[in-house]
């Protein structure tokens, strides 16, 4: 029915405002960069530090940058629980992936095929998680981000580039995409102040 379709479209539009400013793209890009730096420096804690630090910073930036431009909305308790559950699932999946990588990479004896194709498997699983985000949030450009992450492993296997450079490259490109979206967002939506009695308060 028309009424039902319109309501679903409106709900989708409201969810999409979450991703309009490009900040989540920057978050993802920096997180992937963190993975690359972690492999480069053998500092296993880096992805966790990046994830936590940037995640909470993003919300502060949204309050300062995004809400004064497109306004603020609070979803219903049911929606908030659903969103929180998905974030928790994502975070857990990434954490498990990291633990799996650390365990498998740390094992002295492993099958040769695992040693050869481990980057492809790992990047593939990370890309699958990003694809899940793209599907859930209906943000199609996240499929591109997933492809970039997977390509890093492909280049490592077939061109012989270092595995960590694939992460750093993909992360860097994703950050640049996010910055481009953010700049476009800032131009499209100037800060607005509510009118009082027809006059702007500055």
């Amino acid at each position: 029915m028309v009424a039902d379709v319109n309501l679903k479209e409106i709900q989708r539009k409201v969810y999409m405002t979450f991703f309009q400013d490009g900040l989540w793209d920057i978050f993802l890009g920096l997180f992937i960069l963190g993975w690359g730096l972690s492999i480069l420096t053998e500092a296993a804690y880096l992805p966790g530090v990046f994830f936590t630090g940037i995640y909470f910073t993003i919300w502060g930036i949204k309050k300062w940058l995004t809400y004064p431009r497109i306004g603020y909305v609070r979803f219903s308790a049911t929606s908030r629980r659903r969103i929180t559950a998905r974030f928790l699932i994502l975070g857990t999946a990434v954490l498990l992936l990291g633990v799996m990588a650390a365990v498998l990479w740390g094992i002295g004896t492993r099958p040769q095929w695992l040693a050869d194709y481990f980057p492809l498997i790992f990047n593939g699983m990370l890309a699958a998680i990003v694809c899940f985000v793209a599907y859930w949030a209906r943000v199609n450009r996240f499929y591109l981000h997933a492809a970039l992450i997977f390509l890093g492993a492909v280049f490592h296997l077939w061109l012989g580039t270092r595995w960590e450079f694939g992460f750093i490259g993909a992360g860097g490109i994703i950050v640049l995409i996010g910055l481009g979206i953010l700049i476009s967002f800032l131009r499209k939506y100037p800060k607005m102040v509510e009118e009082v009695h027809g006059e702007d308060l500055q």
């Binding site: 409106i10 219903s76 929606s79 509510e194």
Partner: protein, 111 residues
């Protein structure tokens, strides 16, 4: 009370029960946005609907008078900040409106 057209034909009941306050396209849009969230501020509704401040204020005022929305004003520092949410009455009225519209459209004769 049975309502009729000028030619004497009876107006189908769901049509007579359509809430004219919600039926206005701008107010329907506002109610729809407020229905899918818990709270939205003025700026969000302005951006999503494309209305002017005055237009938005006028429509929300009518909905507030009808008891469909609650408008809360506060100051964040020196800046006014207005939030809007549907009341239970507003939520029920919107659902009833959607139901009535569905019945009207479902009962339309096919060609």
């Amino acid at each position: 009370m049975v309502r009729t057209f000028n030619n004497g034909d009876q107006i189908p009941e769901p049509v007579t029960r359509i809430d004219r306050l919600i039926h206005e396209p701008s107010r329907y849009t506002l109610m729809a946005y407020l229905y899918v969230v818990e709270v939205a501020d003025f700026l969000f509704l302005l951006r999503q609907t494309g209305m002017t401040w005055g237009n938005l204020s006028a429509h929300l005022g009518k909905l507030e008078v009808a008891g469909y929305v609650v408008i809360e004003k506060e100051f964040l520092g020196k800046k006014p900040h207005t939030t809007v949410r549907l009341t239970d009455e507003g939520r029920n009225a919107f659902e009833e409106y959607r139901g009535n519209m569905k019945r009207v459209l479902d009962n339309l004769p096919t060609k």
